[in-house]
Each structure stands twice: as structure tokens, then as C-alpha cells.
């Protein structure tokens, strides 16, 4: 029986369970420890992916061969995409901060299925390992791009099947996490926490959970079809067997487009937590932010075709997908208006997480607006598959999800580690990172408008200036990232002890000690007020 006095109960970091050392982590079913397992895995892959990205930008600083061959470059952008999409941003915020904070924020002791939760992490590690192994055991290095488009991917390596099997296992990780969160939110909310008294981060995890649960199985169907084609020679995708390459693109994007919302919705949730805390003000338009999350999750299923405007779909399909793409922009716009309105008549405490939120808003708006140019048919026909698209999705996925991830990292760091970080270095790192980010991806917009296609190892002299600027930006950004990460790691040792509520937050995680005790709450709280009550 655990003692009733919260001061005597050990924190989840000090707790000595059945297993010692590393086994105390990799066999733990504590949602907080699992969250950190994900954090460590994801950050490791992120550093690898970012380094590969930097090497690509070194190569592109001048036309012709700079540091690597075409074959290596093609392998690099393939690996960069696979690692960043499947191993970093899709699990990203839900797996790390969702796991750690969802139960605490709704007043629960753990997720609904703790063992299933641990299994999800094992699926994640297995899936990533399978995908990476498949890329290195074929006839040559990987060179299909992370999209594995048929029929090219069928021709170059024999390893399509294990790669998609890896994605399938990763998919299971995603499905189980989604299921776990949905059940947790439905069944384990603290007494008195009605749906509309729930904080916004859990709300976005709820919307994300449905996307994970319903969209991810499409990977399974695709895998079965690839298996049938490879083994039984039934032509689904390969034109030499009578198949249709476009069918592959449809199936791929039917999952991979909703996956974009798995990435961005929890990011929006984190921003919705950070802004009211540092504004010391209740969030503006709570109900509308909730409704827009649900709307994004719903409409997000029906717009995958905008990846295929030049592929050769029928005209009706083209303009339907284009129209729906414009519609899905509206709920995101509503969120932005509400976030900015929250700052009106606030009392803003300018701390690092808030700077990240402001940075998020700026780059997310640029990402969103550039998406309008790509959603429009006439302009997409020119810009599709150019650097403009690369700039757009880095502004959304790295700008949106990445900024929110680092914002969340700085926001919840005291809660997770029990230490405060050095905010001066954190801010310096952010400024360097932001400058590099805008230079790196901003230049890509102009390269794309000029007509430079993506996935180009070598390029015409007319694209040289833009590439120099972009590559310099990459170096600055990478340096900023290093400052940020080193500061966070060094603060683990040097940081002063964090109080339970360093920022003046009102959601439940700030009512318990930092780091939280094993069972989170001594007594499950009874909720009587809304989540951002500053009255």
C-alpha cells in the first residue's frame, strides 16, 4: 500500500520497482517512463535525420558533385524522409507528451491499458528497425524516396515487402496508442471533468486517436496487395502485370495524408496549453477550438488526392479534392485567430515556451498560406514536385510540429525532469534556430517558383543563388538545434530544482510535484471548473 502522504511517495524517476537499471525502464508500464522511452528514441532518430538533411544541403551548395555521389544523395533523401516521417513526427507529440501528460491532465493514474502501452513502444522500435534493415539488405542502397512510388520502387530493390511490413508494424504501434488514448479519455477522466471541461491537449489527442485508429489500417490492406503482387503476380500496381501505378498512390496517400493530421493536431494541442498559461488568461473561444480539431480530423480523410493533381486523375476528382483542400484550411485558420485573440488584454510572461508558441504561429501561418497556393489547381500544376512543395511541408511539419514539440519540451521540461533549464541559452538557441529555419526553407519557396524540381542531386546554374542561401540557412539552423539540445541535456545536471508550478499553469499537471510521483495523484481530484480558470 502506498503511503497517503504525497511528500513521501517517491517520484517516478526514483521509484524502485521489480526490475533494476535499464529493465526498470524497458519493462515499465508507467505511462511516464514509456513517454521518456519514446522521447529518447525519437530524439535519437531526429538527430540522425537532421544530420542527413544537413549533408544533403552541403551537397546542394553548388551544382555538380560537391561531397557525395548521386547514388548516395538519393539514398540520403530517402532515409531522411523515412526516418523523419515514420520514426519522428508521426509518433512525435502523442507518443512522448501524450503518454506522459494525458493521464495526468485528465486526473488519472495511468492510461487505460498500461501493458498495451508498453507493447506499442516495442512495436515502434521493431517497425523502425524493420524499415531500416529493409533499406540496407536489398540489391543496393535505398533510393526510392519515402513515398515508395510504383513502379520505380518495384524495379530497383527487392525490398518493398519488408519496408511496407515495417510500416505496417509501426502502424500497429500507432493504432494501439490511439486506441489506448481513446479509451483512457472516455473512461478515466476525473469526476466532474465533463467533455467541455477537458484541457485542449487531451482534446487534440482524442481527435488524433480516431485518425490513428481509422486511417492506419489502410497500410495493412496495401501490404496485402503488395504481397499478392510480388508473390502471386496479381497485377495491382505494376503496369507490366496489368496493374495501375496510380492505385498505389491513392492507397499510399489515403493513409499518409491523414497522417499529416496525426502530426499536426497534437502540436496544435500543445500550443493551446502554452498560450493561456503564459498569458495568464483563459483561452479565447474554447468551444470553437475543440470543434475545429474535430473538423480537421474529419475532413482530413477526404483530401489525399491533392498530392496527385498532375498524376492523371479525372477532372471531377481533381476539383473535388481541390475544393475540400481549401475547406480543411478553415478550421486551422479559426484556431490561429483564437490563439492570437487570447493574447489580447492578457498579462504575458515572456518565457521560452511562449517564444516557441509565437514562432510556431508565424511559421505555421506561412506553411498554411503556401498550402493554399498548392491546393489551387492552376498554380499546383506548375509548383507540384518542385522545391516549393518541400518548403511548404517543412514549414508545416517541421515548423508546425517541430516548433510545437520544442515548445512542449521547454514547457513541460520542469514537470518531466524536476529541473529548470537555463532560459538564456534556450532563447539564444531558439533565435539562431529560427533565423536558420527561415533562411533554409524560405529560399526553397523561390527555387520552387523558378521551377527547380525536388529530389534533384544536380541543378541548372539558374538555381545556384537560392541553393547557396538555403544551404547557409541549414548550417545556422543545425547550430541552433545543437545549442537547444545541449542546453536541455546540460540542465539535467546543472538546473535548479523545479517547483510544482513554475509557470502559473492551471491544468492538473501543475497541481502535483515535479517530477510527478509514481501514481500521479494521491487522491483523484474532483473537477468543478474549466481547464484555464484564472479568475
Amino acid at each position: 500500500m502506498i503511503t497517503q502522504n504525497s511528500n513521501e511517495e517517491p517520484s517516478y524517476l526514483d521509484y524502485k520497482g521489480k526490475y533494476k537499471g535499464i529493465f526498470g525502464w524497458i519493462l515499465s508500464t508507467d505511462h511516464k517512463r514509456i513517454g521518456l522511452l519514446y522521447l529518447f528514441s525519437i530524439m535519437s532518430f531526429f538527430v540522425i535525420g537532421a544530420t542527413i538533411g544537413l549533408l544533403m544541403k552541403f551537397e546542394l551548395i553548388a551544382p555538380g558533385k560537391t561531397i557525395i555521389t548521386a547514388q548516395t544523395y538519393n539514398a540520403f533523401f530517402t532515409l531522411h524522409g523515412i526516418i523523419m516521417i515514420f520514426a519522428v513526427v508521426i509518433p512525435g507529440l502523442p507518443a512522448v507528451f501524450g503518454n506522459f501528460l494525458l493521464p495526468i491532465m485528465i486526473g488519472a493514474k495511468d492510461v487505460a491499458f498500461p501493458r498495451l502501452n508498453l507493447l506499442s513502444w516495442y512495436f515502434y522500435v521493431t517497425g523502425v528497425t524493420l524499415v531500416l534493415i529493409s533499406q540496407f539488405t536489398g540489391q543496393g542502397p535505398p533510393d526510392t524516396g519515402w513515398t515508395f512510388y510504383a513502379p520505380y520502387s518495384f524495379r530497383t530493390t527487392g525490398n518493398m515487402l519488408p519496408a511496407v511490413f515495417g510500416a505496417f508494424v509501426l502502424g500497429f504501434s500507432s493504432i494501439l496508442t490511439g486506441l489506448n488514448f481513446l479509451v483512457t479519455i472516455h473512461r478515466l477522466r476525473a469526476p466532474g471533468m465533463t467533455w467541455l471541461k477537458m484541457p485542449l491537449f487531451p482534446w487534440t489527442l482524442y481527435a488524433t486517436g480516431w485518425v490513428q485508429l481509422l486511417a492506419t489500417p489502410i497500410i495493412g490492406i496495401t501490404l496485402l496487395m503488395i504481397a499478392a503482387e510480388r508473390v502471386l503476380h496479381i497485377g495491382f500496381f505494376d503496369p507490366t502485370l496489368g496493374g495501375d501505378p496510380l492505385l498505389y498512390q491513392h492507397l499510399f496517400w489515403t493513409y499518409s495524408h491523414p497522417a499529416v493530421y496525426i502530426m499536426i493536431l497534437p502540436a496544435m494541442g500543445a500550443i493551446s496549453e502554452i498560450i493561456p498559461t503564459f498569458c495568464h488568461k483563459t483561452i479565447f473561444g474554447y468551444n470553437f477550438i475543440v470543434a475545429s480539431s474535430i473538423a480537421i480530423a474529419f475532413v482530413g480523410y477526404f483530401i489525399w488526392g491533392h498530392h496527385m493533381f498532375t498524376s492523371g486523375m479525372s477532372g471531377t476528382a481533381l476539383y473535388t479534392f481541390s475544393l475540400l483542400t481549401f475547406i480543411v484550411a478553415i478550421p486551422s485558420a479559426i484556431k490561429v485567430f483564437n490563439w492570437i485573440s487570447t493574447m489580447h488584454k492578457a498579462s504575458i510572461d515572456l518565457q521560452t515556451p511562449f517564444y516557441w508558441a509565437v514562432g510556431f504561429l508565424f511559421v505555421f501561418m506561412i506553411g498554411g498560406f503556401s498550402g493554399l497556393v498548392l491546393g489551387s489547381l492552376a498554380t499546383d500544376i506548375h509548383l507540384h514536385n518542385t522545391h516549393f512543395v518541400v518548403a511548404h511541408f517543412h514549414f508545416i511539419v517541421f515548423g508546425g510540429t517541430g516548433y510545437a514539440f520544442f515548445g512542449a519540451m521547454h514547457y513541460w521540461y520542469p514537470k518531466i525532469t524536476g529541473k529548470m533549464y537555463d532560459s538564456r541559452w534556450a532563447n539564444i538557441g531558439l533565435i539562431i534556430f529560427f533565423t536558420g529555419f527561415i533562411t533554409l526553407y524560405g529560399a526553397m519557396f523561390f527555387l520552387g517558383m523558378k521551377g527547380m524540381p525536388r529530389r534533384y542531386y544536380d541543378y541548372d546554374e539558374i538555381f545556384h543563388t537560392g541553393n547557396i542561401i538555403s544551404s547557409l540557412g541549414a548550417m545556422v539552423m543545425y547550430f541552433g538545434l545543437a545549442v537547444i539540445i545541449i542546453n536541455l541535456v546540460a540542465s539535467l545536471k546543472n538546473g535548479r530544482k523545479a517547483p510544482s508550478d513554475p509557470w502559473g499553469g492551471k491544468t492538473l499537471e501543475w497541481t502535483i510535484p515535479s517530477p510527478p510521483p509514481v501514481e500521479n495523484f494521491n487522491e483523484i481530484p474532483v473537477i468543478t471548473k474549466g481547464p484555464y480558470n484564472y479568475k
Partner: protein, 315 residues
């Protein structure tokens, strides 16, 4: 600027510009407005200047306003994009037909009179319909100055059409990733006056108009047009396929039906390599990359190619 030259080289440029400038203009306006509002709030409602926040739960009228206005803007943006795209689906009946044959990693343009060219040569102010054929994987024909692009999907009948409206030479890129030499798969569209084009079009029924009478010059020109040098070099450098240097007449170890066989590179072998390229694969090179040239090369062309190969042997 977003254009390399700022000119209106095809019938799509002005509609593209309308849609692009409207969407980008409204977007930039909103971006600046919202960013300035945000920065002003951060400055004005800083903890020091405003120690106590005013709690505001929301405002339904505002919410409705900032839902309806963006919806209307978005619908108008959609309309502009749709209106600019609509003409791409309807080629004029009198359009000139050209077929592009795309393969790893070259484009070949075939005209109705049988004339072939590695560059796309078109007359000014004449609608041109390009039928898109791929022999291997998905490619994409992209002419930035024309603001037009279309994927070339194997096994699918597709076309794109445009009206060139300005004389000059413009770049063509492949815009769908297609393997090792993807970034080297490019060409040029050359827009000529209608008179000049007529002369060029009638000039020679032969596939290639050749300059020079040196031995092998015709063969070399044919091979350049077909894009052979994207994978095979004449100077001994190893790309994805074997080099031609000292190849003709030599002994080569090839894989035939999973068995190693030694063959002599004679005219018979050269012909088989061109028309049935995957029957024998030189040891150490990947298979299933090269497709047959049966549809674009005649027996006479192959004889010319052999003449050229002979010139690459050390004397």
C-alpha cells in the same frame, strides 16, 4: 522574382499569374496583419505593462465572422485555380500532335511525319498536343516557363497541350523522381516562328539531321537523340550501364538465364542488346533498367550505331 524571365511564354502564364498573385497577395496581407497584431499584443499586454489580465471567454459574433470571411476567400481562390486549370483538359481539335517517349533518363519527341528529336521543337502560336508515353517508370514533363506539368505514367494514355506564345528556348525538366540520373533527365523546348518550323519539319525525313561526315557521326547523333549516353559513356567512365570504350569486338561475360556466358560483341550482339536488352546483362550491372528500343530504332539506325561504336576502339 518567381519567373526566370518574366515573360508570357505560353497560354497558361496569365491565368497562373492571376491565381498565384491573388492567393499569394491575400496570404501575405493576412500574414503581415496577423503577425503585427500578435507582436503588438505581446508588446502591449506584456506582464510589465499589463499586470492583470482581463478574462475573456470568447465572442460568438467574432467567431462567425472569421469563419465566413475565410470561407468566401477560399471559395474564390478555389475558383481562380479551377478556372486556370480547366483549359488544360481541352486541347483544340487542330492541335499539332507530338508524342514524347520518356524512359530512364531521356525524353524523345516523335512527330507525325516520323521525325524524331531529343528537343521539343514547336511553332509559335500553334496549339501543340503532346501524347505522353513512358516505357519504364513514372516520369513528369515539366516546362516551368509554360507553367505546365504532367506525369507520364506507364500503361496510361495521357496528354498535355499548350500554346507557345513567345519565341525562344526554355528548359524541360523531369519532375517525378525516376532513379539515379533523375536530375540529368532534362531537355529544351525550342519555339520557332512558323516559317522556320516548316523548314525544320520538312528538312529531312531521316530521324536526325546530322552535321558533319566524320565516320560514325550519324550513329553518334542517333544515340544522343535516344539518350543512350545517360547510362553509357564513350570514354570508359562507369555509369549504370557499361561504357562503349573498346567495347565493340571485345569478349564480355554476361548473365543469361541466371548463368554466366562469355560472348563476343559482334553486330548480332549489339542488335540484341538494343532490341532485347534484358536477355544478356553484362556481369556486374543491374538488370531490368533498360527497355527495348524496338519502337524508335530501325535496322539501318542500328548499323549506323555499330559504325560509331567501331570508332571508339583504340587504334
Amino acid at each position: 522574382m518567381y519567373s526566370t524571365t518574366g515573360i508570357e511564354a505560353s497560354n497558361y502564364v496569365s491565368t497562373y499569374n492571376t491565381a498565384f498573385y491573388f492567393i499569394a497577395g491575400v496570404s501575405l496581407l493576412l500574414l503581415f496583419g496577423l503577425t503585427i497584431a500578435m507582436l503588438y499584443f505581446v508588446f502591449r499586454y506584456n506582464k510589465k505593462r499589463n499586470p492583470v489580465a482581463t478574462q475573456i471567454e470568447g465572442n460568438t459574433i467574432l467567431e462567425i465572422t472569421w469563419t465566413i470571411i475565410p470561407v468566401l476567400l477560399a471559395l474564390f481562390m478555389f475558383h481562380l485555380g479551377w478556372a486556370g486549370w480547366k483549359p488544360t483538359t481541352k486541347p483544340p481539335k487542330d492541335a499539332m500532335n507530338i508524342t514524347v517517349i520518356a524512359r530512364m533518363w531521356s525524353f524523345l519527341f516523335v512527330y507525325e511525319n516520323g521525325k524524331q528529336s531529343p528537343d521539343l521543337i514547336v511553332p509559335l502560336n500553334t496549339p501543340v498536343k503532346v501524347n505522353l508515353v513512358s516505357l519504364d517508370v513514372i516520369h513528369s514533363l515539366f516546362i516551368p516557363e509554360f507553367r505546365i506539368k504532367s506525369d507520364i505514367v506507364p500503361g496510361r494514355q495521357k496528354f498535355m497541350w499548350f500554346m507557345p506564345e513567345m519565341e525562344g528556348k526554355y528548359k524541360i525538366f523531369c519532375a517525378e523522381y525516376c532513379g539515379l540520373q533523375h536530375s540529368y533527365m532534362h531537355s529544351t523546348v525550342n519555339v520557332m516562328s512558323q516559317e522556320k518550323f516548316k523548314v525544320w519539319f520538312a528538312e529531312s525525313a531521316k530521324p536526325i539531321a546530322v552535321a558533319g561526315n566524320a565516320p560514325g557521326a550519324v550513329g553518334e547523333a542517333i544515340m544522343r537523340a535516344q539518350g543512350c549516353f545517360a547510362c553509357h559513356t564513350p570514354d570508359g567512365t562507369k555509369l549504370i550501364g557499361p561504357s562503349y570504350l573498346n567495347l565493340f569486338g571485345s569478349q564480355q561475360v554476361v548473365i543469361r538465364d541466371s548463368k554466366e556466358v562469355t560472348v563476343t560483341v559482334d553486330p548480332e550482339y549489339v542488335k540484341r542488346s538494343i532490341l532485347d536488352p534484358n536477355a544478356d546483362i553484362t556481369k556486374g550491372f543491374p538488370s531490368n533498367l533498360m527497355q527495348s528500343y524496338r519502337s524508335t530504332l530501325s535496322d539501318d539506325d542500328i548499323l549506323k550505331i555499330i559504325e560509331y561504336l567501331k570508332t571508339l576502339n583504340d587504334k
